[in-house]
């Protein structure tokens, strides 16, 4: 029984951790809002209350789940917040920063408990002292601590009590049943109970909701006064209770009552905290979404029965054909709706990622001596959970970049005739089938001249090269590029925009920057709604059909022989307007011999990968459609150049190309042929 109960607690640890992390985010944003809010007492009160409540629930939960240290820090922070609350005070900058430090410490502690890797707990002693000192400054005594003091353990001895218990008439209406209390006493030892019915009125005056009886109980056994007090603790204001100790004989050899001690020791409960909670395998889903899903399934069942009606032998006459068509149309609509609702199950609001930025901007702008206002919008925009998890780091990098390199210091801004406070807006919204996240600042913008000279310095482009503005902007994404004049603590840590772009690409997204010198920069991220379904272009190579992810296709052109130039040991090049694009014969790379090898005719699908363009030579372009990605790794094994497989409408299987992999394959094939030629 006890084990099963411990399991219940253990299973919910992950839920508590999740909640604690959420509550900490809430506290953090509350504190930041407090800092910004004008002296509006109502608003301040409301915010302090919210923050207090969040801290309070962390404390209660942490204590219950055995995270003593978390509970302790939360308790000290709560005491300080309580002072603020009772005084309806707005915390000064010092207190806010102390509370923010506490949030960090709590977060670290929660993560530490979650990891359960046996490492030492982060130390929080100093922090608690600081919190107490701050609370003391705000006045008031520490009566909260006094209330939390534990009762001393009592010795076991043979005792005899006489207890007089006369409930007030209204005791029953607090849900306390006198009989229950008497039964409790009988569990403690041997009892003799006598009832006093003197107060009992005449039957017709008797009110059913009132209690008229009183009792005298003689209780004998190894009972402590505390145990009796405990029985009456809920009703000591609702009844007259008189406890008298009659005989007290010391029996030192008496074994102590088996007392259930709570394990308050974090070490005793520590290590197993890690179990079942890693991996982020679970997701919280609103009931509304599940209802919608259920609804959709219901619709499908109806559609199925409509189609079932049509079943039967014999030719399909016009009437049945019409209802078959209707049924199929319904099926198509329901399938689409079902697909959408299932996708929305995996979605989470992007706000869960954006919520970290107010704090980041607050801290960073202080550190950099800049004034920045962060504007967030579209936090409720839903994004696939997998996409969302991988979005955090690139976005953080972009925000850091914008504050570090984009928005100028107040004096510079003043000199440029701009308001001293810069603005960074982050907007998230749906456009077409994509999620768009836009970061826009009103800072200095990209200085193309500086970028070009830096790139030349770094040898990324030749000294005499002439580049278009777009090409210069593109240089930011080159590995090893950094424009900060001084490599700063904030961004230039060697992780550049190339990594950001790679991360965004890894989740099937696309990043683009536009900028006006002196006016600001806008970075646009386009992200897919989901990774499980992609928009694909079907292409024919020989007798096979392949899927090229639409996102990587720039354009498709019919090949013109006169624009092809071939060099020994190199990929043939195609002159596409100003540029030369290497041609890769898809059939050649994939070993489809029936595929087109000759460059006299056919189609070039121009794709972009890692900033490089490739022309994939195919026989024909077929339909564009959404395809469900099935993993090759789980069903077969990883194959270079392929991202997965899908099943087409006619039931045949088409392989999905990994454009990056194709580029690698083509390059290694070329190198091999160069090796042979040499």
């Amino acid at each position: 029984m006890t084990n099963r109960l411990a399991d219940i607690q253990q299973q919910l640890m992950g839920t508590f951790i999740e909640e604690a992390v959420e509550a900490l985010t809430q506290i953090e944003s509350g504190l930041l809002a407090l800092e910004k809010c004008q002296d509006d007492p109502g608003r301040i009160h409301e915010l302090v209350n919210d923050v207090f409540r969040a801290a309070h629930s962390i404390k209660g939960g942490a204590a219950t789940f055995g995270l003593t240290q978390v509970a302790e820090v939360a308790h000290h922070a709560e005491t300080l917040l309580d002072r603020l609350r009772s005084g309806s005070m707005k915390p000064n900058a010092q207190i806010t920063s102390l509370l923010l430090t506490s949030v960090d410490a709590l977060r670290a502690l929660v993560q530490w408990s979650n990891a359960g890797d046996g490492s030492d707990a982060p130390s929080t002693g100093e922090l608690c002292k600081d919190l107490d000192a701050a609370a003391q400054q705000l006045g008031g005594s520490s009566e909260r601590e006094a209330a939390a003091a534990t009762k001393p353990a009592s010795e076991a001895k043979k005792t005899h009590y006489r207890i007089k218990f006369v409930p007030k008439p209204d005791m029953l209406t607090t849900g306390n049943d006198a009989v229950r209390l008497l039964r409790e006493l009988t569990l403690l030892g041997d009892t003799k109970v006598s009832v006093d019915s003197a107060r009992l009125p005449e039957l017709r005056e008797l009110e059913l909701t009132k209690c008229y009886l009183g009792w005298t109980i003689e209780l004998e056994g190894t009972v402590t006064r505390a145990q009796i007090d405990e029985v009456f603790s809920w009703v000591d204001d609702d009844a007259e209770i008189n406890i008298e100790e009659l005989v007290a004989t010391l029996t030192p050899s008496m074994p102590a009552l088996p007392k259930v001690e709570r394990a308050h020791d974090p070490v005793a409960r520590g290590p197993e905290h890690g179990a079942d909670r890693d991996g982020g395998g679970s997701i919280r889903v609103g009931v509304g979404k599940l209802d919608m899903l259920m609804n959709m399934v219901g619709e499908l069942v109806i559609t199925q029965s409509i189609l079932g009606e049509i079943e039967g032998d014999g030719p399909i006459e016009a009437k049945r054909l019409a209802s078959l068509r209707d049924g199929l149309a319904l099926l198509a609509r329901n399938t689409r709706a079902l697909q959408e609702s299932v996708m929305s199950l995996r979605s989470m609001p992007i706000g869960t990622v954006l919520s970290r930025f107010p704090r980041l901007v607050h801290d960073l702008s202080r550190q950099l001596g800049k004034q920045v206002e962060l504007k967030l919008s579209g936090q409720t925009t839903e994004v696939d959970k997998t996409v969302l998890e991988k979005l955090g780091d690139p976005l953080t990098h972009l925000v850091r970049n914008s504050l570090d390199h984009g928005i100028e210091k107040p004096e510079v801004r003043r000199a440029r005739g701009k308001p001293e406070t810069g603005t960074l807006s982050i907007r998230a919204f749906h456009r077409g089938g994509d999620i768009v996240v836009e970061l826009e600042d009103d800072g200095g913008g990209l200085d193309l001249v500086k970028i070009l000279s830096r790139a030349k310095e770094r040898g990324l482009v030749g000294q005499e090269d002439v580049l278009s503005d777009d090409q210069i902007r593109e240089l930011i994404f080159a590995p090893g590029f950094s424009t900060a004049e001084v490599v700063s603590d904030v961004s230039g840590r060697g992780v550049g925009m190339d990594v950001v772009r790679r991360n965004i690409k890894a989740i099937g997204g696309h990043i683009q920057m536009s900028s006006v010198l002196g006016q600001g920069t806008r970075t646009t991220l386009r992200l897919p709604l989901t990774l499980a379904i992609i928009d694909g272009q079907l292409v024919g190579v020989g007798s096979y059909t392949y899927v090229v992810p639409l996102l990587s296709i720039l354009e498709s052109v019919e090949i013109n022989r006169s624009r092809v130039s071939q060099f020994e040991g190199k990929l043939p090049l195609y002159r596409l307007r100003e540029d030369l694009v290497p041609i890769v014969s898809l059939g050649g790379v994939l070993g489809v011999t029936s595929g087109r090898i000759s460059l006299d005719s056919g189609l070039l699908v121009v794709v972009e990968t890692d900033g490089e363009r490739l022309g994939l030579l195919v026989d024909e372009l077929q339909a564009q459609q959404q395809v469900v990605v099935k993993s090759l790794e789980t069903n077969y094994e990883h194959v270079e150049g392929l991202a997965g497989a899908t099943i087409l409408g006619d039931g045949s299987i088409a392989l999905i190309l990994d454009v990056q992999g194709i580029a690698r394959l083509a390059r290694s094939a070329r190198n091999a042929s160069v090796g042979r030629a040499a």
Partner: protein
């Protein structure tokens, strides 16, 4: 076995109460704040209500005041879950109509012991 309603905005604590009681064979319903709980208690009769105090939308004490005036819940045991219990808090809780309290931290076993007291 009893019909129990547990009210808490914290999912982990609410589930801890609910799962513990369910493991002891009780029928448990859940609500995440006082306002929600007021709706739930109208759907069926509960033999016991366990409510957190600090909750958004409607706090536990306000909820209990609303419950106590309903004829069906005049004598129903209502326990509050609280982090500390000093005389002042106790007075407020009792005046709101609470039967008793369960002080956090508690573990499932303590919870069941307390419940046994109330339900017999």
């Amino acid at each position: 076995m009893a019909n129990v309603l547990t009210v808490d905005d914290s999912v982990s604590l609410r589930k801890l109460v609910a799962n513990t009681l369910a493991s002891a064979g009780h029928q448990v319903a859940e609500a995440s704040n006082g306002a929600e709980a007021l709706d739930v208690i109208k759907t069926r009769t509960f033999n016991l209500i366990i409510s957190d105090i600090n909750m958004p939308v409607m706090d536990g004490l306000t909820f209990i005041k609303h419950v106590r005036v309903l004829a069906a819940y005049k004598f129903t045991p209502i326990l509050v879950l609280t982090t500390e219990m000093d005389p002042a808090k106790k007075k407020v809780a009792k005046e709101s109509g609470a039967t008793g309290w369960l002080v956090k931290p508690f573990d499932p076993e303590q919870l069941l012991n307390t419940i046994r007291k109330v339900l017999g």
